[in-house]
């Protein structure tokens, strides 16, 4: 498993990490979630993917497109966050 200990900023808000961490049973507690973390190695299984996508949709009030729900989308926190943030930008109030 990739365990990163370095600091550095992450692109997402706190709630994204709060949604993610409980779905990573193999990630030791207090280990930082870094953008390139291998989510599968950290314990994200296929049920976790379902749960994660559903929670992300609920929390951010977005609806992911069917075509976005792929293995690549949940490779790392960075890949998923890119999709989420694209929706947040596109669906932000005042832009639609």
């Amino acid at each position: 498993m990739t365990v990163a200990t370095g600091g550095g900023p992450v692109p997402w808000d706190d709630s994204f990490e709060k949604l993610l961490r409980p779905l990573l049973p193999l990630l030791p507690p207090r280990t930082r979630i870094v953008p390139e973390l291998d989510l599968v190695a950290a314990g994200l299984d296929s049920f976790g993917v379902v749960e994660l996508l559903a929670e992300v949709e609920d929390h951010y009030g977005i609806l992911l497109d069917d075509e976005e729900i792929t293995a690549q989308a949940v490779e790392s926190p960075a890949t998923l966050w890119r999709i989420v943030s694209a929706h947040l930008t596109a669906e932000a109030p005042g832009h639609g």
Binding site: P22, L23, P25, L26, P28, P29, G43, D45, S46, F47, G48, V49, V50, E51, L53, A54, E57, D66, I69, T70, A71, V74
Partner: protein, 486 residues
């Protein structure tokens, strides 16, 4: 088994056999492709009895190569695409394949498996030229497949599967499940797992269409089922859990008429959830193991009248429950499950000792398989599964199994999943649960339901239970958690 495909090609030439992400093959096209593969194998000098390792995702290429290898009289060795180098190299040494069929860079496959790059070929290369069907007929007792199954200890062992026994098992299963030519079977069980693999045979026996989309994530399963208008869903409990979760964000049920379950017991909660999502579906619990493919199949919805049953033995086979000295016990008494019939496979590949321990030739009845599983029969001959031998242990002088404790944990309010790992060297019995409640509350509830010796010492609340590629709870991963659990 390619005879089954040839018959399907005559009966339903224009019906779709296998659909994957890149298109669909009719039964006639699939049979033709398998002849091309057999010719391609002959050109490469593959002879009867040679092993051919298939490291392919489920799809048309897998089906074409599978039937082509069988037609050539060679032996299919399917290996999961996620199997790591350690196990791959062990399988290569054990099975000694003459050829490896894989997608992608042959040099990387060769490196991972540990063979020369010249021994790796793509499905497209095998399909390249059509050839006459020059192959000699394949005798029924010839080996069709080596199916690797994880042993409780050590490296995976291959079960030797001859054509006639595979065919008997497939036909006996089809006789119970009754797939038909209007069915669309959406399988997300890997083809390297026998339950996934046999979907091809069940469909060929019935003219049904098999949809294999390993390129999609499980999270799109419900949508895919709707898109292809799936009527049959072969499930393992982890897939059932995913469907139930998906149904909460997604409405609109596909026309599913039949849901089968194997791999591990389907909980009553999952079964009732599936009945909610698929109102027209009948649910069929089953039980089996690679060593004889399938052991029992329940009647549709029989679980409602006989909770916990995995059904009766396949027609033409026998199941008995025996005590430690091998004598049959009375109905209702738990003992080891023993299986006899033409579906019992031909032992473990190159493992005479392991084979002798489990497979016993009987003068009259054929081969008897000691499953190493425990269970009981009822007066009506229905089987109830109690646990694997490894799940049974003694604690404070009391014999118990993980399943009875898991059943109690699942009975505790707000516990949605539970697993118990038998005590290790330190003697600690640990329960893992998925629940919104505190571990101490869960244990208190368990203590009020079961005798003290069976109450776990420790309870760990997890967001979910880790699962293996086959959808079973990954007990090794749970044991690995010991190191980091508080």
């Amino acid at each position: 088994m390619h005879d089954v495909l040839d018959l399907a090609a005559r009966l339903w030439p224009g019906r779709l056999a296998v659909r994957d992400g890149s298109g669909a093959d009719t039964y006639a096209e699939l049979a033709d492709a398998s002849r091309a593969v057999a010719a391609g194998l002959a050109r490469r000098g593959i002879r009867a009895g040679d092993r051919v390792l298939l490291r392919l995702p489920g799809g048309r290429d897998f089906a074409r190569v599978l039937y082509g290898v069988m037609r050539a009289g060679a032996v299919v060795v399917p290996v999961g695409t996620t199997v790591g180098e350690h196990h791959l190299r062990w399988m290569r040494r054990d099975a000694e394949p003459r050829l490896v069929v894989a997608l992608g860079d042959p040099a990387r496959t060769a490196e991972a498996v540990g063979v020369p790059a010249t021994d790796v070929v793509s499905p497209a290369e095998l399909l390249a030229q059509c050839g006459p069907d020059t192959g000699a007929p394949v005798p029924g007792d010839a080996v069709a497949m080596l199916l690797y199954t994880s042993g409780s200890t050590g490296m995976p062992r291959a079960v030797v599967c001859p054509h006639d026994r595979v065919r008997f098992a497939a036909e006996a299963i089809q006789a119970r499940l009754g797939y038909n030519e209007a069915d669309v079977v959406l399988s997300r069980v890997p083809v390297a797992f026998d339950y996934g693999l046999y979907q091809l045979f069940l469909c060929a026996l019935s003219g049904a269409q098999l949809v294999l989309r390993p390129d999609l994530v499980d999270a799109s399963m419900l949508r895919e089922a709707r898109t292809v208008a799936a009527t049959v869903l072969p499930l393992v409990p982890s897939l059932a859990a995913i469907l139930l979760r998906l149904a909460r964000r997604d409405t609109g049920a596909p026309p599913v008429r039949l849901v089968t379950n194997t791999g591990a017991a389907l909980s009553a909660a999952h079964a009732s959830g599936l009945r909610r999502i698929f109102p027209d579906a009948r649910i069929v619990p089953m039980y089996g193991m690679t060593e004889c493919k399938r052991i029992t199949i329940a009647e549709p919805d029989e679980d409602l009248r006989f909770p916990g049953t995995v059904g009766r033995p396949l027609d033409g086979t026998e199941v008995s429950v025996v005590d430690a000295s091998g004598h049959p016990v009375a109905p209702g008494v738990t003992g080891e499950i023993v299986v006899t019939g033409p579906h019992v496979m031909a032992g473990y590949w190159r493992s005479p000792e392991a084979t002798a321990g489990r497979f016993h030739q009987r003068a009259q009845e054929g081969v008897m398989l000691r499953t190493g599983d425990y269970g009981r029969l009822d007066e009506g001959g229905r089987l109830y599964f109690a646990g694997r031998r490894d799940d049974i242990f003694k604690r404070r002088g009391v014999r118990m199994n993980t399943h009875e404790i898991e059943a109690v944990l699942l009975d505790v309010p707000e516990v949605s999943a539970a697993a118990v790992v038998p005590p290790g060297e330190d003697g600690t019995l640990t329960a893992y649960v998925v629940s919104d409640r505190e571990a101490t509350e869960v244990l208190a509830d368990v203590a009020s339901r079961i005798e003290p010796a069976k109450v776990p010492d420790r309870c760990v609340v997890l967001p979910r239970l880790p699962t293996t590629a086959n959808g079973k709870v990954d007990r090794d991963a749970l044991r690995a958690l010991e190191a980091v659990a508080p």
